[in-house]
């Protein structure tokens, strides 16, 4: 047995192709990105001046857009954690209680938005929230709430919250599915024991379901922060960061800097900081949520 598990040739054949591919499309590009980030802002391939940390000092100390993009990601992440996830947990518990064929049917339906292409989702919501023919404003009209009619994505005061709404609509099914799967892992006899002790309804779930789900919740909170940080396509295809940077995100910002503004070096500096922020966020939220989880 040892001999089989120590087979050097097999290990090489199993690991090398994956690592090679990963290195070529992830690690080498990151190194290259770091190299470009110390250069002046010229187009790719063009030799340009080495300017040291100038791009970084500009970004960190003089670029309010960079910080705005980070702030938006934090707000979006908090939105996911405080709105989307409690709803997902609530629905997962209710689904689990429902049982039978209906459970399966509703679970399937709630996941449907998750399989639809981001291009369709973006263009669809752009139309739904359109100030002239969008269904959202028409609905407000028919409810007699015409005074609330709005260019939801076109107004800087409502654009970010509209974006959160779209993303919750699109991603709710994943959260629900993970919590639902976590619930299925909790043994039934725990509930029976607790209800014999007199716990019921809301208390039962607050005391048993939520603490036992805490490993899933921990992972999900980390994922929510990462998802918020990585936000790009929906924003890119609807508001492109606007109006007035109110929906600016790091990925959108760096993409536009590179391909619209042709500030390639600067865009690469954003890329490197972006990676650092993502790794830091994962590390921090892992650390924070882990220490929380031990209190249960």
């Amino acid at each position: 047995m040892q001999k089989v598990f120590n087979n050097k040739m097999a290990i090489f054949l199993f690991v090398f192709p994956g690592i090679l591919l990963f290195a070529l499309t992830f690690l080498v590009p990151i190194v290259l990105s770091a190299y470009y980030s110390f250069r002046d802002t010229l187009s790719p391939g063009t030799p340009s001046a080495f300017i040291g940390f100038a791009n970084y000092t500009e970004l960190l100390f003089h670029d309010s857009r960079f910080w705005l993009a980070l702030r938006n990601a934090v707000l979006l992440g908090l939105g996911f954690i405080l709105i989307q996830h409690p709803i997902a947990i609530f629905f997962a518990i209710m689904l689990d209680r429902l049982g039978g064929k209906a459970e399966k049917w509703f679970r399937t339906i709630f996941f449907i938005p998750c399989v639809i292409s981001v291009v369709v989702i973006s263009k669809m919501w752009l139309s739904l929230l359109d100030p002239t023919f969008g269904a959202f404003n028409k609905m407000l009209d028919s409810l007699g709430l015409g005074m609330l009619k709005h260019a939801w994505l076109g107004d800087s005061s409502t654009a970010l919250i509209s974006m959160l709404f779209i993303l919750i609509w699109a991603g709710f099914g994943w959260g629900l599915l993970f919590y639902y799967a976590g619930l299925k892992g909790i043994p039934d006899d725990l509930y029976e024991a607790a209800s014999l002790d007199g716990a019921s309804g809301f208390r039962l779930h607050w005391r048993i379901t939520v603490p036992l789900l805490s490993p899933v919740i921990t992972v999900q909170i980390t994922l929510a922060m990462i998802t918020a940080l990585k936000q790009m396509e929906t924003v890119f295809l609807t508001t492109n960061g606007g109006p007035g940077d109110s929906t600016q995100f790091l990925a959108v910002y760096l993409y536009n800097k590179a391909f619209s503004a042709s500030q390639y070096g600067y865009a690469n500096a954003i890329s490197i900081l972006f990676i650092i922020v993502c790794l830091l966020a994962t590390y921090l939220s892992n650390k924070l949520t882990r220490s929380d989880a031990t209190e249960f």
């Binding site: 089989v4 598990f5 499309t25 391939g45 209680r97 639809i116 023919f133 993970f178 890329s271």
Partner: protein, 274 residues
């Protein structure tokens, strides 16, 4: 639970499901309208004269079939590569004994956290230099690289729960390591493999930003471009735009309907415990 609470719950879920699906219902409804019907005050509208022409425009001018075939090809090759690489990596990380194992495992898992958008710029430069932009490979390689970390993560979690006795008896029977991985371990990890396949499918099938950066040749474009092409060309013909969105969504929904059960099983078995 009493029967009446169950009924209330049922009705509640039905309402929520309708609200949640409303945008899609609206999309389908309006895809049958002519553009001048869009501005009427009603939220949903029974099409007085269903505009099938919208769907013909969508199919023909959206180059639906061409892009569909491209998507299908790129996605299938990506899935195949992802499954093979995640399976072998997963096995090497959970069962094989080698010194660099923890380092390589960490490196691969970093791939889950590193945003693809951050590697987009340098990859564009590299692919351009290598002549990989405007080729199928230019999408297949990054798609596979993005999918392998999560696939490996799901599979290592799952493989740890498989008892070693399986492999021990296979070794006694004279099977070599490759037979063990592909003929014994692969079928045993089937539920987790399906999760890997489905998540890879959803990610690649609907991926847009890499495709739009790396492709400019029309003959190679993938399905999301059907919608993008329309936005410019027919910017005022909303009916046809909506029809192309409906058409684009159908394949993914059909695949999901088929694999729906396995997705849930896979998440339960692989991702949560992993």
């Amino acid at each position: 639970m009493t029967k009446s609470t169950k009924t209330i719950l049922w009705v509640f879920f039905l309402i929520v499901a309708l609200v949640q699906l409303f945008p899609l219902i609206w999309l389908i409804d309006f895809s049958f309208l002519s553009s001048n019907e869009f501005y009427s005050s009603s939220v949903l509208k029974w099409p007085s004269d269903p505009q099938w022409q919208n769907y013909i425009n969508a199919w023909v001018d959206g180059k639906f079939l061409r892009y569909f075939i491209n998507s299908a090809f790129v996605t299938s090759v990506t899935i195949l590569l992802t499954v093979i690489l995640s399976l072998t990596l997963g096995y090497a990380f959970t069962r094989m004994q080698w010194k660099l194992r923890p380092i390589f495992f960490t490196i691969i898992l970093l791939g889950i956290m590193i945003p693809i958008h951050a590697t987009l710029l340098p990859n564009f430069a590299i692919f351009k230099a290598l002549g990989l932009t405007n080729s199928y490979l230019g999408l297949i390689l990054p798609y596979t690289a993005v999918s392998v970390p999560l696939g490996t993560f799901i599979l290592t979690g799952f493989m740890r729960s498989i008892p070693r006795a399986m492999e021990e008896s296979a070794v006694v029977d004279g099977a070599n390591i490759y037979r063990i991985v592909f003929q014994i371990i692969a079928p045993l990890t089937a539920p987790a493999l399906v999760t890997v396949i489905v998540t890879t499918f959803l990610n690649c099938w609907n991926e847009f930003i890499m495709a739009s950066t790396f492709l400019s040749k029309d003959a190679l474009k993938t399905l999301p471009f059907s919608v993008m092409n329309f936005a410019g060309q027919y910017s005022s013909d909303y009916g046809s735009q909506f029809a192309v969105m409906v058409l684009t969504s159908i394949p993914a929904i059909v695949i999901y309907a088929i694999f729906n059960e396995q997705i849930t099983k896979g998440v339960t078995a692989g991702a949560v415990k992993g």
